[in-house]
Amino acid sequence: MAVTSPDQSAMRGTQPVATNRAWSWYRVSEGMTPYFLIAPLLVLIGVFIYWPLVYSTYLSFFDWNFVRPDKNYVGWDNFTRLPDDPRFMRALRGTLFYTVTLVPLQVFLPLGLALLLWPIRNSRAQTSYRIMLFSPTIIAYSVAAVMWLWIFNPLQGILNKLLVEFGVERIGWLSDRDTAIWAIIIVATWKTLGFHMLLYLAALEGVPKDYIEAASLDGANHWQIMRSIRFPLITPTFFFVLVTTVISVNDDVFGAINVLTDGGPFDSTTNIIYYLYQQGFQFFQIGAASAVAIIVFAATSVLTWVQFKFVERHVHYG
């Protein structure tokens, strides 16, 4: 028979309880760890994305300039007056035009470039091309504008000087309503081309080599490999580029509009984001600007949902 001291028996009685508690706390804290880790990000997203969204929705029902002590409640007026505003309708047309022209340009052109550069992936030439095509992405619009303003200048610009050399009349690239919007499209494409191309190149790099080798052994030609293996395997990247381009294309083009044309000539290069900016920060109509922001948010959400509903089914996630 084992003799135990009272102290020992007490220890036996309490130790399992303490261990259980510690274990429970450990399990709870382990379960909570992910939440603790993402909490800072959640707070940031809440403060900088969801709270502005909620506050914008609230402000869209007021006539206010952010400073006046009195906010006038105007109900749905900020929304209902938009269709009667010719400037809003012009901005809407511009938005549609930019979306229809820039989305294909920013989605397919970089893909084409990536496919052209892919075969020379191990050469210095590809590195040079990559640097050349990517560098516009990191140049601020304000800096790039100086260069493009000079290129497009009707009297001293290099573009018109070349045209005049060939006997073509000078063109007011930024002051003619027929050419200004195309000038904006050129600059916006130039700015984003390299980034998307880089994403495609990375995706192409990720395609397993044994798939390609197996297909080659089976006698597949270059085009068949591209169509049946490479492209399906890079569709996640393609889908990502498509969705983010549709979401951001009119936001991206804002920089070019702001520094090159101010929405002119005659509002011909404006879009809904520039209209929003003018309402909020040139005319100080924060309520009206918030209403436009809500409309943009709703339209973008619907477009994104449509893409997930109808395009995502064609994406091969591997």
């Binding site: 400073v67 009667d84 001293q156 000539p265 005659f266 100080f284």
Partner: protein
């Protein structure tokens, strides 16, 4: 020095360094105490570079005024922020007011007086100046005060008074054999001179009107006897006089003499000698004198027949937004310095019309501005209502469209009126 050992040298050096450090700390502390005693105030303004110009070797005149003030003041430090153009300056002001940290002084365009009062809550001068109010009113020309007065209340300190004038490249005029005085006499004589000038610039357009077309449109229409906005608050740009004036530019555009360029093209085109004439603010005189590589000439606006040139004002006043009453004296000290001979002499280098009570030598090239000033300026249009800025933008686009023949003048003024009424009445 022969008995100077290394240990001794190091020891003495350490002692000197220690003494210097102590002295330095003491001096810094003293300096900090002095700095703490100074009241810090802030001004937002547009004059970081000469208006419309590029940075020159010498600091811009407003920077000189501020630096000189800070150097002589024992009680105030004025900090500067130059957010950009007038619009960007107002944007920053608005954001900082909303954030509860307004600047003390801001350069506010005369044209935005109503917005500064109703939208931004600019302080009236009397409430800030108190007993010193009369001293301030006496410090500037009596012609300037109505520009910052509404309902008999003064809402700012008059500072930069400009007016649009014509700048020309005298070398091109000489090459074309055109006498500037004759060419700028009337719009008819100007149109007659354009073909020769166009040949001299290699077939390019001859002249441009400054961006923000609303501003030159005012002088154009007023000089033909019309108004953009009548004194009774009704829009006058649909009058026969206004339409005739607007048609003048449209006709010059049809003939290929008018440069339709964008905001960032017009002035560079003139500086590069690609166009012969540029209409801009007299405030650009200092900047153009720095930048123009040719003989720069200035002139008043051409007349419509024998009618007088009735130009608009331009420029800005200094609006007071200080919330903390303990800083009022600091703000007033700076304004008093601005009105003093020392301050205003520095400011006078810009090209702005002298609205102080100090006799100062006029700058070469300023003559047309004074001629128009003496002929009678009209206060730049203050677009009415809470959505006045938006209405102004609508009119601005229609001016651009009418002058570039994108729309007929008849249709342009009619559609502009409809659009503006929809906004102002909304």
């Amino acid at each position: 020095m022969s008995d100077m050992t290394r240990r001794r040298f190091v020891g003495q050096a350490a002692a000197v360094a220690g003494a210097a450090a102590v002295a330095g700390t003491a001096a810094t502390s003293a300096g900090r105490v002095a700095a703490q005693e100074k009241t810090e105030i802030t001004i937002y303004h547009i004059w970081g570079t000469p208006p419309g110009g590029t940075p020159a070797e010498q600091p811009a005149p407003m920077t000189q005024v501020i630096d000189a003030f800070n150097a002589q003041s024992e009680t105030v430090t004025l900090n500067t922020n130059t957010p950009g153009n007038y619009q960007e300056t107002l944007q920053k002001t608005q954001a900082d007011i909303a954030a509860g940290n307004p600047p003390d002084l801001v350069s506010v365009p005369w044209a935005n007086l109503h917005y500064a009062i109703d939208g931004l809550g600019v302080r009236d001068l009397a409430s800030v100046a108190g007993d010193r109010y009369d001293e301030f009113v006496a410090s500037m020309s009596e012609t300037a005060w109505p520009l910052v007065t509404r309902d008999d209340v003064v809402h700012g300190f008059p500072w930069g008074l400009s007016t649009p004038i014509f700048y020309y490249n005298a070398d091109i005029f000489e090459q074309a054999g055109v006498d500037p005085a004759e060419a700028f006499a009337t719009w008819d004589s100007f149109a007659a001179a354009c073909p020769a000038l166009q040949e001299a610039v290699g077939g390019a357009p001859v002249f441009s009107l400054t961006y923000n077309k609303d501003w030159p449109a005012q002088t154009l229409i007023q000089s033909n006897g019309g108004r953009v906005l009548n004194d009774d608050g009704a829009f006058g740009f649909t009058s026969a006089e206004a339409k005739e004036a607007m048609q003048t530019i449209a006709d010059l555009d049809t003939a290929g003499f008018y440069d339709r360029g964008t905001r960032d093209e017009l002035r560079p085109n003139f500086i590069a000698g690609s166009t012969a004439v540029w209409q801009g603010s007299v405030a650009s005189l200092g900047g153009l004198n720095n930048d123009a590589p040719f003989t720069l000439g200035t002139n008043t606006w051409p007349r419509f027949g024998d009618k007088p040139v009735v130009a608009s004002t331009g420029g800005s006043f200094l609006g007071i937004f200080t919330e903390d009453e303990s800083r009022f004296d600091a703000v007033l000290d700076f304004l008093a310095y601005c009105a003093s001979e020392a301050g205003y002499s520095l400011w006078n280098q810009t090209g702005y019309v002298n609205i102080s009570n100090i006799e100062l030598e006029r700058l070469p090239g300023q003559e047309p501005a004074y001629a128009q000033f003496e002929e009678g300026l009209i206060l730049e249009t203050n677009w009415p209502g809470a959505r006045g800025l938006e209405a102004q933008a609508v009119w601005d686009v229609y001016c651009e469209r009418m002058w570039a023949n994108d729309i007929s003048v008849e249709e342009g003024v009619s559609q502009a009126l409809e659009g503006i009424n929809a906004i102002i009445g909304a």
